[in-house]
Symmetry: C2
Subunit: 295 residues, 2 copies
Amino acid sequence: MSRLKEALRVSTEKVNAALDGYIPHSTDTDRRLFDAMRYSTLAGGKRLRPFLVLNSAALFDVPLDWSMSSAAAIEMVHTYSLVHDDLPAMDDDDLRRGQPTCHKKFDEATAILAGDSLLTLAFELIAAPDGHPEPAVRAEMTHRLATAAGGRGMAGGQMMDLAAEDSALDLDAVIRLQRGKTGALFRFSCEAGAILAQRGGAERDALTRYADHVGLAFQITDDLLDLEGTEADLGKAVGKDAAAGKATFVDLLGLEEARRRAGQLVDDAIAVLQPFGDKADLLRDVARYIVARKN
Amino acid sequence: MSRLKEALRVSTEKVNAALDGYIPHSTDTDRRLFDAMRYSTLAGGKRLRPFLVLNSAALFDVPLDWSMSSAAAIEMVHTYSLVHDDLPAMDDDDLRRGQPTCHKKFDEATAILAGDSLLTLAFELIAAPDGHPEPAVRAEMTHRLATAAGGRGMAGGQMMDLAAEDSALDLDAVIRLQRGKTGALFRFSCEAGAILAQRGGAERDALTRYADHVGLAFQITDDLLDLEGTEADLGKAVGKDAAAGKATFVDLLGLEEARRRAGQLVDDAIAVLQPFGDKADLLRDVARYIVARKN
């Protein structure tokens, strides 16, 4: 895993520098907005989604200059979703990445606006002329990111998650929920490489399947960590899903089968990368890491 | 005004039909999200911003098929901003367009997600391949819409507005605030015509200046209506700015000067349209209507 560890460290450093550069400062009375955007985005985080963007793009030798704005954009969309999910009206969380959540550090209105503005900035970035040189690529990336983040993607999954508090979901429904809530952004992150390289067909399909396997494995692992992890390791509250009566993969599959299923998904994810040869080794490593992680 | 009235009626009908078609339905557990998006967007409204998009595009004979998705997108962004602004943590309003606000009709979490999803859907639409045939135009429209809606545009203006509750703003600060909060989307709506027609230079500049004049006139009129209008006419609460101790144009300029200034801005807006000849008559009419309206 030390190859992955080093690659993650280097990638995270670059992504953090890019995010720092992309989110403006302000000295006007809107300062609080930018402070909150910067606070939530630069508070740390695994930067997994940008890593997937950069490394799926690297399969096709896409220059970093062309892929970095998309990598930063996906992290902004992810951060916006956390900021809004943490709000009192939603999951009501006080702690995120080991720090006070945005509305705790600032206030609710600022957290709503900071989330809104991060989402908007992501689209500004991904469509900007100083990113990918080909306008058709920028338009397609925008369209796909919006589809992944919106009502038929991440936001829809979050709505299903809220609805789940009052109803007993079966396995199919939980898979559908997670395909939106977590899966859609994972899928976009991996497809991004093929779109940025203007490749379609089998290569794009393989990345999509890789992403779907990895996304589901990620979520099953999240459910396992919510049950077995500690608040100190995770930097956020644990056991909340169980307390809210939400059906998790562990409830529906049992502990052992959930672990087995996550392992199987990782094997499947690694298998579909076969056509890319050695070039996909980091993507294989990250699939293994996703189920082995402690936070 | 009957020429404008008829044009607005026809345009509103088309825009409403487009919005109805663009916002999906759902029968899954995320149904509530789409119901809320549809409720807030299809509740009526003057559809001024889409009107500006369609009529600035008509100056250059841009086909309706190419401009309608942008017109619908701008209305979605406007609606998202209203849904979030109405939230208890923000302006805490119960009534909008004469109906219960989104969080009153549904709940806060749903209103947050519905706003998020409307914003996201706007970008999905404006970047979609079945809109404008030229990818460079779709990418530029996306980039400009995001700039207008984000932290350095509408959302930043809203942050300034929230900050204004605790501080006495001078005229410059209020103009800066409104340039973001209302002006940025007006500007985008009018620039849209030139971008969709791939025109730059003097024509685009004229539309930008028209938009800036009209946007400011619109906001001064809003302040006058907040003071002089009735809840029944406006379909929303009145006198809230004064109650919150926010400086309005009327406070800073006085009633008479505010009226005079709005009238002057309309004259200026009409004057910059000169190069477009008769083709801009509806844009002239709408500038006059913006200060004459009762809601």
